[in-house]
Amino acid sequence: MAGHGFSTNFPPQLGAPGGRQFWRSLDELAGTEEFHAFLAAEFPSLMPLANGIERRSLLRAMAASLTLAGLTGCKWDTPETALPYVRAPEFTVPGQPKYYATAVSLSGYALPVVAKTHVGRPVKLEGNTDHPASGGASDVFLQASLLGLYDPDRSQAPRHLGRPATWQAFDADMARRMAEFDATRGAGLRLLTGAVTSPTLLRQIAAMAQRWPEFRWHVSEPLDDGNRRAAAQLAFGARLDRHLHLERADTVICLDDDILGPGPHQARNARCWSQRRKAYRDGDGACRLFVAEPTPTLTGAKAERRLVVSTGRIAELIVALERMIGGETGDIARLDADERQWLERAAAAIHSRPTNSLVTIGANHPPPVQALALRLNSKLKSTAVQFTAPIAASAEDGAVSLVQLAGDMAAGDVQTLLMLDANPFYAAPGELGWSEAADKVPLLVHAGDHYDESAAHSHWHVPLAHELEAWSDARAVDGTASIVQPVVRPLYHGRAAQELLARLMGDYRDSRAIVQATWRAVWRDDFDARWTQALTRGFIEASAPAAVSATPLDDPLGMTPPPADGLTVVIQPDLTIWDGRFANNAWLQELPKPFGKITWGNVIGVSPQLAATRAIRNGDELVLEADGRQVAGPAWIMPGQEANTLTLTLGYGRQRGGHVAQNLGYDAYAFQGVAHQHVIAVTGLQATGRKLKVATTQMHQAIDGYDFVREVDDPRAAASQSPNTARASLYPAKIYDSPSWGMSIDLDACIGCNACVVACTAENNVPVVGKELVAQGREMHWLRVDQYYEGDPVAPRLHFQPVPCMHCEQAPCEMGCPVNAAVHSEDGLNLQVYNRCIGTRTCSSYCPYKVRRFNWFEYTGDDPESLRAMRNPDVTVRSRGVMEKCTYCLQRISAARIAAKREDRPIGDGEIVTACQQACPTQAIVFGDVIDPDSAVSSRKAEPRNYALLEEANTRPRTTYLAKIRPEGDGE
């Protein structure tokens, strides 16, 4: 190995992996350039756009040289070239991260983020703690947007008729056509977008409408609030957005409304609810949640009383509830015993504090039904709901915009259709017959971040810049506007949506100037100050529309008869990839869906009763039929699902979603009707007899007989007979001095939303392994959220339990490791030293919690360049054959420790925030020094609800849990 190390006559033996180049005298400087050329050839990984094969071979060689390095600990590993700046940017300290406040978007709404960047590369997104809407809460989509930026499948250049083209060609073509439209006053020019909250975009669209009077703008958002606005229209005579203030709601009655579930509102709602819940635990008021729903949701899981009903019953329930509250005792006969009891309890709860009560109905229900709830709230004078003008602007034809457009297209009234960040060829309801209609359109132009279904059907496709690459603006769910600033140089040649529209109008400025123009008009003179402030804070103060007083009309609501009983399909957003826009996001694909813990695909949710009567087992292929439309997918039995309800989720069955999205699941859009988009009566259901592979991370979910998730009757009750009693041990107990780290997870606050899991994945370079390996039980998540069913599968209690490494004081893994790779640190951490690990896997065999993860193959070596750029440089990238696990975000601890030491001060409480803790919308996770009695984590652990998982194993975990609080009168 030393042999080539000393070759003095290079390049011949140059760069053989495992060797470094040496020369002894100046005259050997000859051929330096050659050397660099050779270096470039030999080490493609140092060069941009190296192709995979070379990189793989290089990495294998590197592994080999590491072997030897392991033997001798000597320095003959691959040469490392250091590239300093040519001109160093100001205030840049290599290795020191910088933070920028900006936003990413979900269904048009801004999710405010703070982006952590290393030398110009964003490596982590966090919620913006200053933001009035979210207060720093985040969700899986916010966390995963980072991967969206680095997605290797992103569209990189314009295409004309599927063939690569240039922006010049596109601009020229557009310029010509727009000129023609000037002649025809824009007749036949249509723009299709998703929901839009960007003031700049709206300004531009308005300008287009002004320039081309015949021009029409259409909005298609698969999961929008159209129905809710329609309901407001019926109830108050005005299209309004409702804003829940769960922090004020002592009692919430959710009728098939997943207010805590995924979506733009999740972070805000979850944060507000958890505030109320905490206040309740501290003895202030109540926090009662009554949920009636056909299928389990995150909201239902937190319900005090969860009533399992078909969607058809919701209308009945709201009517009955209103009458009960009105003190009516007359015949509410059409209720069965459970419904009556549930309603009585709910009504009683409302009676206790009407003004702090809230009744909500899901957006899938007909506007008149929702309107009932809206009116009921105002009758209760509920302070927990407010109304504003719509945050996301809607096209004048409102909810039916897409239908209108399709009609016009079929009628041949559309000459040019611009699809801006919309994918109707995939997401239009099957019944609409979109692609047939589209055949009649002479010119289809698609702008999107992927070359997706719509791109493939379009004459022109142009790539959009990622939100983190360009300037833009958007409003959060509460209406607060944010300036979206780029945090990285564009990776590819995409353009911001604003730039695209500007160019159509002949405005060739860049996105920054365009956005500034919008706000200069608003702020006029003090533009500069406000602009800087907006960028530094991440949002524009007091930019949310004022709440309007909504006075209920009392003209009758035309109630639509509920769908006849019988098999009903409920189509929901997917809990991890939403409406399909995240289908190519590997983090979200591998993220287990909260119920069933299914990854890499969607299933057809079936009730236990139906499964029993039809002899359906998990994984059986089912074919559903309605109005001649069919959908086929694997069955999955969902305890707590209404007997005759089947659930489908959107977002799968992509034809052209990218490499990750390809060939996964079924397409529920194709099954959607135009009138009935989300609730469809099934006319046929049969099993084909085929078994489909479903990759789940948790095969068993019945918790009966175990006390993993503990419950207490009130916040003061003890969860453990022997709280924190250390049992006898052969090893002497170690005495720790401060700091000594520990974590507390409050199961009463946890809503099982998975934000922590994605945050952990992003922070710790956790690899994605794919469907096959997940099915084999080889997923790599350091933090998992276990989901359990308790009791009768027809109406079970639902539990979530996040399980990171417990950092046991008496850690079996440490005792098992033969090479000291699993060791305990002076500050109490249970360490895993990757570079020492030889992969005996004893630690994992001995781990009672099975939280350790093993690199069965080389998962990271073949990552494409872009994904390497995304990695957190403060965390080692693990290679093949090494065990890994949760480290309590060691890198964050180290950073804080070094900072504190340099200032010769102790580390402050709350100075270290783990990734999961930071992401959690309900602040269920607290981390800190367990020696300091005043630290947040210590006070948590002092609570009577505190208990250790598997106490009997006597591992003395540093991660402990706070028990759930059982609703009154529910004691066992």
């Binding site: 470094r20 040496f22 001798t72 590993d77 040519v86 300290v93 500050d827 890198q891 030491k901």
Partner: protein
């Protein structure tokens, strides 16, 4: 039938067996010796660089402070290499035409970075933070050696883990006044043991340095 084995065969066999022992011993020792040697640790070997930069001239001769070029050494984990423009602050005036500096000028002109080869090389799984070491008063020379005597830069130490641990387990003797960390020649200190001890005692107390906590794996491996 002739004998196959002569009478002395046994003796030779025994002799061979005896010889085997020292032979194996030598093998083991020489392997260890190799690892310790400059061949094993790359100590003192000059690496091929785009420009034959002389620390001897710039540090020893001109007395430029380390921090002028390695500017982030006090503030960040990495000491940082000088941007091309830093070189050019002087060399736009001095040696403007020197062929040896052609790569530097080209780098500035083309905006392409110089490709230095690392000399002080740590594996990727080792996280070393310069700022805290500087802050505690570990002098540059402790790890990087007398660069002011290196016409061409070479590693002064092998950076084996044991070498790091020696200091982490007994840091006192290596502590210096933080305001003088970039000083190269500490012979006066090394001669004046008393003064040195006195100072390190203060330093250890002042910063509450606890060596028993300094050999946690997590300090360098994450």
């Amino acid at each position: 039938m002739p004998q196959i084995f002569t009478a002395s065969a046994d003796t030779r066999l025994r002799a061979l067996a005896l010889l085997l022992v020292p032979f194996l011993l030598v093998c083991v020792l020489s392997l260890g010796g190799f690892m310790e040697s400059t061949y094993g640790t790359a100590r003192g070997w000059v690496v091929n660089q785009p420009v034959p930069f002389s620390h001897e001239h710039h540090v020893g001769g001109l007395g430029i402070d380390c921090r002028y070029c390695h500017s982030s050494v006090e503030t960040g984990p990495q000491a940082g290499l000088p941007a091309t423009e830093v070189c050019m602050t002087c060399h736009s005036q001095l040696w403007t035409g020197a062929p040896m500096l052609a790569p530097v000028r080209r780098s500035l002109a083309e905006g392409k970075p110089l490709q230095w080869q690392r000399v002080a090389l740590l594996p990727d799984y080792v996280y070393f933070n310069h700022s805290i070491h500087i802050d505690r008063g570990v002098a540059c020379v402790t790890c990087h050696g007398r660069v002011d005597r290196m016409p061409l830069l070479s590693a002064a130490h092998g950076f084996e883990m044991s070498w790091c641990l020696d200091c982490h387990r007994n840091p006192a003797p290596h502590l210096r006044p933080p305001d003088q960390v970039t000083r190269m020649d500490w012979s006066d200190w090394d001669n004046d043991r008393e003064r040195q001890r006195a100072f390190s005692r203060q330093a250890m107390a002042a910063h509450r340095i606890e060596p028993e906590k300094l050999d946690d794996c997590s300090l360098c491996h994450r």
